[in-house]
Symmetry: C2
Subunit: 358 residues, 2 copies
């Protein structure tokens, strides 16, 4: 049986005060009242039924997630007692699903980006499922066709083509975030894709790699699946590392018992990891203002204006290229250029006013 | 006996959302936690005892005023059921005090400005009291020595000097707000002072002028003093006009039974009628930011940053020459230049979101 796990782990520091320390930005209802998580959920329902969709997120956000996704069964919500990086956000669901269904084929998808067109994504996901079902011992990743020499993404080095699964290749190497010159060279060569951080594999195949590469993690996630009541005890003991470091890179180098394949994702892939990025993906008025919530604007251009404080108003005049955000607890006013410093600003808030506001 | 009436009538449209429609800006605790009303109260206690201080304000603000001025006797708070312009804010107290004390000499002072030095103001007020006590049938005004050709103030044309009351003169004419060229000429001539909108007179003398110039107003304010229970019925019937139009201008022209004198006020007279003006009078950090309340600032210069929403934070980065205000109901973000449009912006809020927020 096919399953999809949506990874909605927390990190909203660069969107403070919209999201707070450790709060997943994927839960913010910024897109016509929908959150990135809700958009991701709708996307994956093209591939599997609602009973086969799981969400892995912080335990603290379980209620919000179940509220946003009324179709999600509570037993399909995997709430991490604390964030232990991406390795455990894929290893724990693999163990849980392998116990429910020894033949489980699992897609791990992110909810960090706006994805367009959705049909192209669904086709690629279907190809990933077929590839992981047809070929034994394969870890399938997805590669976004790069449109710029982006230094903020990891890259996949493509080997031989694989016929019959859309545009697919074997992956010879994982490359970490490159410098500008290297990114330029990757883009020019045509031999590299952006690492989308999404995967499809048989649950069993991933666990087999862990058995070889990280036997302790393997043992512990199997324990978690058998004894879910020990979650709060065992989860914090898991090695905190990324799935790329711990599994994908060594397996691509031949250190596991599987191979790594990649399916091309020919999509617009809009990260919303900063206010400037968020403004770019939201609809804009003729003056270039992206507006969410009760906001009144006068003689202002190029701003991102967000008000999530029910019953209040945000009013802006003469503003240019600003981000102004009002939440129940905080107001942020910054130039979009200065919004790079939001993490530091939130730390100042913690130091100078109250850690609870940061 | 001497009395001082502090006029704290409402008009806070240009400081929205700090003050709302009809809310007196004089009640905002912006100056080291003190309001303009509290500062005005402390100033006049140099001239009279607390039992001789009255406050005339909107009835809706009675509780806030009594809270801010614990020394004010409740019977000394005159709460207007609605604003009826400055004529009635001086005529009603005159009738009330004349009934309490037929020899009442009354100073009418504003709470709109920051005044420095306070001692110079106290000296001028004392001179005003002496002049109004010594000379029969005189209406005493105060003239601020102009430091610029300000087109936002009315002017007093000075006639012959009056010896013995500081720098004092008879007033030959009241001039309404002039255009730039006229204001330049006034400043150059040395014969004009800014009309401070403050007065000293015998209550009886003001009422005598009303008897001649506006007999109906005279009758009605006497009724109000005799039958305070009819306030809600009578007050809204009072002619809505300014004391300058109705009394000072005609009396200076010889149409009353008194003369008009002016005492020089050689003070720094800082209006706080706009955000730009408010920023100028508040203490500033080395980067020129004026900050009130829980605010965190990063790489920002020349801003006015005010947070009156208890328990929240206002955080600002990369901002220049902005006014950012957070209240429990609203956030304003505007350039200081655009803060001229605040009234219009508040009207937009009323139209587009809710009249209750404007």
């Amino acid at each position: 049986m096919r399953y999809v796990v949506i990874m909605a782990g927390g990190s909203g520091k660069r969107l403070w005060p919209l999201s707070r320390q450790g709060e997943p930005k994927q839960l913010l209802p910024l897109f016509d009242g929908q959150s990135l998580l809700q958009l991701a959920y709708q996307r994956v329902l093209q591939a599997v039924g609602p009973e086969q969709v799981l969400v892995c997120t912080g335990a603290a956000y379980a209620d919000v997630v179940l509220e946003q996704l009324p179709g999600l069964a509570p037993e399909n919500l995997l709430g991490e007692p604390e964030g232990r990086d991406s390795l455990n956000a894929v290893a724990w669901p693999a163990a849980v699903l392998a116990r429910r269904d020894p033949d489980a084929v699992v897609a791990m998808v992110t909810a960090d980006q706006l994805i367009n067109p959705v049909d192209t994504f669904a086709d690629a996901l279907a190809a990933g499922f077929r590839l992981a079902t047809d070929i034994p011992d394969v870890l399938v990743t997805f590669g976004v066709l790069p449109t710029s020499p982006h230094t903020g993404y990891g890259y996949l080095a493509r080997g031989a083509d694989i016929d019959g699964y859309g545009t697919a290749s074997w992956v010879t190497e994982f490359k970490e975030k490159p410098d500008q010159a290297t990114a330029q060279a990757y883009l020019a060569s045509g031999g590299y894709w952006w690492n989308a951080g999404m995967f499809v594999w048989r649950a069993r195949t991933l666990l087999d790699q862990l058995a070889v590469l990280l036997p302790q993690t393997h043992t512990k996630v199997l324990q978690l699946a058998e004894q879910p009541e020990r979650l709060a005890e065992i989860y914090p003991q898991l090695l905190k590392t990324s799935v790329d470091y711990a599994v994908m890179e060594p397996v691509a180098r031949g250190e596991g018992s599987a191979r790594v394949a990649a399916i091309a994702l020919d999509i617009d892939w809009a990260d919303v990891g900063s206010f400037a990025a968020l403004r770019a993906v939201l609809p804009q008025d003729p003056a270039g203002n992206a507006v969410v919530g009760p906001v009144v604007v006068r003689d202002s251009t190029g701003n991102l204006l967000v008000n999530t404080d029910h019953g209040s108003v945000l009013a802006v005049a003469g503003a240019q290229d600003l981000v102004v955000v009002r939440t129940p607890e905080a107001t942020l006013a910054a130039t979009l250029a200065a919004s790079q410093q939001i993490k530091e600003l939130a730390e100042q808030v913690a130091d100078q006013v109250s850690p609870e506001l940061a």
